[in-house]
């Protein structure tokens, strides 16, 4: 599928987006403090499964990666490695102010401030941990944007990948860590 901004989606991708909008599998990677909001969203009061969303164990099977809170440099390396293991088309939803502008950890030497420079974010949810209502509303918006084809974070990542790679290198140096714990 040749990807460029201007050309619309071909029929095959439109059909795909129809299915992808109604059945999104969430990767089970709780990167920050917002992950505690997921259980109430999944269980009986809010029931995420009504939207056709559910948790899946591995990046290969998942569609959406939830960045639920601040991202330290070490976590960011693992998030980037998992994101690249996910299958296209994939989406990213960032929870809370820490992903938007660093939040209360803006001055820390270990956490990044603007997630958008390192990973293509499709949707931000404001709040210093958004409550399940906000999360459900966000998932609805995500589904509409997928249906309309606006959730093209994975296309942006592919298209200007050297922009992202450059930012990643500047912030965290090498993604693949070679030290005594991993050799």
């Amino acid at each position: 599928m040749a990807i460029d901004d201007k050309v619309g989606r071909d029929a095959w991708e439109k059909l795909g987006d129809f299915f992808r909008a109604r059945s999104i599998w969430m990767m089970w990677y709780c990167t920050g403090c917002g992950a505690i909001e997921m259980p109430p969203t999944m269980t009986s009061r809010f029931d995420m499964e009504r939207l056709g969303m559910g948790p899946m164990a591995t990046p290969r099977q998942a569609d959406v990666l939830l960045i639920t809170g601040y991202l330290s440099t070490k976590t960011l390396r693992r998030v980037i490695y998992s994101y690249e293991q996910m299958q296209d088309p994939k989406y990213i939803v960032a929870f809370g102010s820490c992903a938007i502008n660093g939040g209360i950890y803006f001055d820390s030497y270990a956490t990044i401030n603007k997630l958008d420079d390192y990973l293509p974010v499709d949707l931000y949810i404001a709040g210093c941990m958004p409550r399940p209502e906000a999360i459900m509303n966000a998932f609805n918006t995500l589904q509409q944007s997928i249906r309309k084809g606006e959730a093209d974070g994975w296309k942006r990542y592919k298209k200007n990948s050297e922009f992202y790679k450059e930012n990643q290198r500047k912030a965290i140096g090498e993604v693949f860590v070679h030290d005594e714990f991993h050799e």
Binding site: T73, K74, R77, I100, N101, G102, F106, D107, S108, Y109, A110, T111, I112, N113, K114, D116, D117, N167, K170, A171, I172, G173, E174, V177, D179, E180
Partner: protein
């Protein structure tokens, strides 16, 4: 229970003052004793205390007194028989902070020394591993816990900030 431990703290104090010239003792809370000791006799004090029943080294940490240009190493020991915690504190010079490893006394101190080296830059001769990183991955700047390290400046130039364009409406009901 308390009178036996209180007199054991007393005879602990006499024991220590007999061996080393310790000016004064502090008792921050019950069952806890803190005292300062000079760098040279700190090592054999630790060995001596281990033989007195202080089998557990709970913590090794470092305090950065930047005004007086000194690092202060704090060893917290614990005696399981009478439950006494003991803080052994020594001062190091801030510019060239060097101390000896005590792995032969408390083997568990290996990772504490590595942690203190990573965050303060204190060298522990004899513990070659302490020169590697423990928590920080691929860290190139100088140790972050030192007071002369400015995290905000580091964070600003390493991690890009989000620019906010501030065009709020000048007056209520603006354009």
């Amino acid at each position: 229970m308390t009178n036996s431990t209180s007199n054991s703290i007393e005879n602990l104090k006499d024991l220590l003052t007999k061996h080393y010239d310790i000016k004064e003792f502090e008792e921050p809370i019950a069952l806890q004793l803190a005292f300062n000791i000079d760098k040279e006799s700190a090592l054999d004090a630790l060995a001596f205390l281990k033989s007195q029943g202080f089998g557990q080294l709970s913590l090794l940490t470092c305090i950065d007194w930047i005004e007086s240009g000194q690092f202060q190493l704090v060893y917290i020991l614990m005696n399981w028989d009478n439950g006494i915690h003991l803080q052994l504190r020594t001062f190091l010079d801030r510019d060239k902070p060097v101390f000896k490893t005590i792995q032969h006394i408390y083997p568990g101190v290996k990772y504490y020394e590595r942690d203190v080296h990573e965050f303060f830059g204190v060298e522990f001769e004899g513990n070659e591993e302490s020169y590697q990183h423990l928590f920080l991955e691929m860290w190139t700047a100088d140790p972050p816990m030192r007071k002369d390290f400015d995290p905000v400046k580091y964070s600003d130039d390493k991690y890009s900030m989000r620019e906010y364009t501030t065009e709020f409406p000048t007056k209520i009901g603006g354009k």
